[in-house]
Amino acid sequence: MTKADTRRFFFAGTLLFTAVFIGLTVHTHMSVAERTNADALTAEVARGFRGWERYNCENCHTLLGEGAYFAPDLTQIVSQRGKGYLTAFLADPSRFYSEERDGRLMPTLGLSEAEISDVIDFLDWVGRIDTNGWPPRPILVSGVVTRGLPGVEVVVAGTPAERGRAVFEGKGACAGCHSRTQGEVLVGPPLAGIAGAAAERTGSADYHGSARSAADYLRESVLAPSAYLVPGSQYGAGGVSFMPEHYSKMLETGEVDDLVSYLSTLQ
């Protein structure tokens, strides 16, 4: 093998693989519109992306796993936390997190209302991109949602309350926002003693929902979170709870029943 041979290897290989790469690039470029729902890419989403860049978000956070590793991944954040919560959070993160308690605190960036709304629209749009199934399991900000090991089937049998606990810690991801320790606030109100509190609330004068029993109250707070707002500006704004309203679609009726059974044990 001479130098002329290896030179030919270099040039021929480079040309060939460059050509293949450009071919795949053209195909990818054309298929991105469909995979990213480009028709839902509104002016708000585009402005939100400019805001995302302007405030240097990806030098702390990751999005689709790209960025820096100092703050949580935001790929699914809008479906996990809901727009209401994120609107309040972005206006002043220190209302929701503290460095002492959580180890990290996002700086208050002084975003305008329009900037906040745009960046949430942008994140919402990114969350719907076809990512070939990434992440394989939800990535959470806080709390613990145990899911067992991949490939190891978790058989949930036992009493309704035991099955409900599995929903709370697993499929429902309730534990990602609600602590079960008195006084520990992750995102939503802590649920230690919720069974007793539920009974009290249904009987109180500020309660305007339709539940008449503690169990009905618990079911209502899962399926229609805004029916009753726990006092505190970190839980809702303008009469609307920060809790997402998608649990009626996300959980089966039986699972909601199990969840209510479990919550009823939190005395």
């Binding site: 270099f10 790469f21 820096a68 100092f70 703050a71 605190l105 990434w134 959470l140």
Partner: protein
């Protein structure tokens, strides 16, 4: 130095080392925030210190490459630089752009794309600097009429670096497309054309340090850079697994990025063969240490540790965790920082008018072993942090904040090993300062 105008390389090397030291300082600032609580929270965010840390990395590596080119091209083409004044002007403009970028980041003015945060006018400044640089080198080669394969590969790498910067100037509203073309710059730089620069510098150093036959060395250089592009171009696919691009990239990226270590292993084999044939007899033992060290460290950091998380089956769990930080630190250091430190160590005695024999090497060897040991420790600490994070957060289901709390101890190890590394950087810089300013008549000075 053989040619008077090569002295400009000294200024580039000095600037590169100042920027390197600053990069380490901003690394510490960023790391301190991981340990928290952060007294600078409202003043200088993590996003700011981290962007400055990574930008200084790119800037100092490129400054070193430029200095290396201004040192190497006159040697290879046997001529003075076409315009020394243009080379000085280029350095001035380059540093002005670099300093302006850092000032912009401190004022929170940023384009907000990782590695490409430079505001648009500064990006144009970078393009102008690259044109001055490449024009000057092209004219130098033209006036000499002598063009070796080694400098051809170097020039190829530098021209491609400039060209591949251009896709980064195009704005996209679609986040997926933005990511897609951002990797054209970042991936094709560090896992593509920069390897040409590294390969050329390695070949130059090995030929000079061992007296190996140029024809043989340049023959194998073509094989190495051939393997780089064979694997690296389609290896870009490992960034296209999860960003909204078609599924076939899992296959393409998985296969070709698995081949990427070949080029780095080739470089390590290249260096190993030279050592076996010619031994370590060259009097510039510091340059030898850094050259062989770079070949070995890049094979591990860029080659093996990259391979560790490049398959989609693994990457779906590790994507966006400290596993990437681990690979990134050792790869950049092994491939690009060390080859720069090698060429600086090689050129310094000549540039400052001292012979290799009269040089004190104790401090330089401390610098080498402290940096190598420190970086190895940092890689291990980050590997533990990354694996812990992957397991707790991605597999078991702990929230990000919970998982971070549990891997805090590895950040302490990261800090401890960083201190070792920083001592090595300080020793290297002090050794450089101690060597003195450039002198015009190296041969005469050494004889006296």
């Amino acid at each position: 130095m053989t040619y008077r105008s090569q002295r400009v390389a000294y200024a580039y090397f000095a600037a590169a080392l100042v920027l390197f030291a600053l990069q380490v300082a901003f690394g510490f600032l960023s790391l301190a925030k991981y340990l928290g609580p952060d007294p600078l929270l409202g003043v200088m965010h993590f996003a700011t210190t981290k962007a400055i840390h990574t930008n200084l990395l790119l800037v100092w590596i490129l400054t070193g490459f430029m200095g290396a080119a201004y040192y190497l091209v006159p040697e290879e083409s046997r001529t003075e630089i076409w315009s020394e004044r243009l080379a000085w002007l280029q350095l001035g403009l380059w540093l002005a752009v670099g300093v302006s970028a850092v000032v912009c980041y401190l004022l929170e003015i940023t384009a907000g794309r990782k590695f490409l945060e430079q505001p648009f006018p500064l990006k144009i400044g970078i393009v102008v600097v690259m044109l001055m640089f490449l024009g000057n080198l092209a004219m130098t080669i033209r006036q000499a009429g002598r063009f070796t394969t080694t400098e051809g590969v170097l020039m190829g790498g530098l021209v491609a670096t400039a060209l591949l910067f251009l896709p980064g100037l195009i704005p996209f509203d679609n986040y997926t497309l933005d990511r897609f073309y951002r990797w054209w710059v970042v991936h094709l730089w560090v896992e593509g054309v920069w390897e040409l620069v590294m390969g050329a510098l390695l070949a130059f150093l090995l030929i000079r340090l061992s007296g190996a036959d140029r024809e043989v060395m340049e023959k194998w250089l073509y094989v190495i850079v051939g393997l780089t592009f064979l694997s690296g171009i389609l290896g870009t696919g490992h960034h296209y697994y999860w960003i909204g691009t078609p599924r076939y990239w899992l296959f393409v990226g998985g296969i070709f990025s698995a081949l990427e270590p070949l080029a780095f292993l080739g470089m390590a084999a290249y260096a190993y063969n030279i050592v076996r044939r010619s031994g370590l007899a060259h009097p510039n033992s510091l340059a030898l240490h850094w050259t062989i060290g770079s070949a070995v460290f890049s094979a591990i950091g860029a080659g093996i540790l990259g391979l560790a998380h490049t398959f989609p089956q693994v990457n779906q769990w590790t994507h966006g965790t400290h596993v990437t930080t681990m690979h990134g630190h050792m790869a950049f250091f092994g491939a690009y920082a060390m080859i720069n430190l090698a060429i600086i160590s090689y050129a310094l005695p000549g540039l400052t008018g001292r012979s290799d024999e009269e040089r004190q090497t104790t401090l330089g060897l401390w610098a080498f072993w402290l940096m190598v040991g420190g970086m190895f420790g940092m890689t291990m600490a980050l590997a533990a942090a990354g694996m812990g994070q992957t397991y707790l957060e991605r597999i078991l289901g702990f929230g990000y904040l919970e998982a971070q709390r549990k891997i805090q101890v590895h950040y302490l190890m990261w800090l401890a090993t960083s201190v070792v590394f920083a001592c090595g950087v300080a020793a290297y810089v002090w050794d450089f300062v101690r060597a003195g300013a450039p002198r015009a008549q190296p041969g005469a000075a050494a004889a006296a």
